[in-house]
Symmetry: C2
Subunit: 120 residues, 2 copies
DNA sequence: TTATTATATGAATAAATGCTCATATATTCA
DNA sequence: TGAATATATGAGCATTTATTCATATAATAA
């Protein structure tokens, strides 16, 4: 992921005008790295399954673990990432922590993604 | 990524009915792994930048490399993945290979993603 | 208090991933 | 033909990442 590119393309390029034009368009587009991060967050089977489960029903951590047939620890680690991305919210009830979709934010993210890739 | 879960959740779970209900809903939802793969493909800055550039203009490989300030090799490797996901198409012209967005397929993917995560 | 239960988290590990380097495959041109 | 150009690709490497294991934190119950 983070091999920094040090040197510029050495190849004699075919069409400098096209490159310049594209570069101007690229500058205009704001945060492509942030956009990639959004997709990266959704690009994991476990996280997608968790989101799907939470779409169906509010669940505590050990319920999610049972549904996915995974350890509590693995689920908890992924929930932390989803929390960080504000894709899920939670409430405490005694010892249990109940997670649910943060619907508005999920929708916002999708709209952003759609908008970006479809028209710039 | 591929640490297979061997044993089932050992914790005494809080609500078996909720788990059963959720499991029925999960079964109904088809290909969550495929859905995650779609997002994974879009979850990389280089690939997002390539798609953005190709949204703006049809470009040959060395043009893309110049725009992104990356090596031809790095770009070519990513183009291979994008080709495999049918997010881009290409045509040959002499020595050059011109890439462009496979718009219909990009749109289809987004619609699928949206549909899946938003309602099931 | 102590024991139990539910969750969170740091460290370690294995697998995946993106890039570089070298090289192979076309294609064009002299 | 041989040289130059454009692209593709395999191997190797470093980084990232998802999981496991052990343990910490917090809440409840005895």
């Amino acid at each position: 992921m983070t091999h920094k590119t040090h040197d510029t393309c050495q190849i004699k390029c075919i069409n400098p005008e096209r490159i310049a034009r594209t570069l101007r368009g690229m500058d205009a587009s704001s945060d492509l790295a942030g956009l990639a991060d959004i997709f990266k967050m959704l690009g994991d089977v476990t996280r997608v399954r968790i989101l799907k489960a939470l779409f169906l029903e509010e669940l505590c951590v050990c319920d999610i673990a049972a549904v996915l047939e995974m350890t509590q620890s693995a689920v908890s680690h992924q929930l932390r990432l989803l929390r960080g991305a504000r894709l899920v919210k939670y409430r405490k009830e005694g010892k249990a922590v109940y997670y649910s979709l943060d619907d508005d934010h999920v929708k916002t993210l999708f709209d952003q993604g759609l908008e970006h890739v479809q028209q710039g």
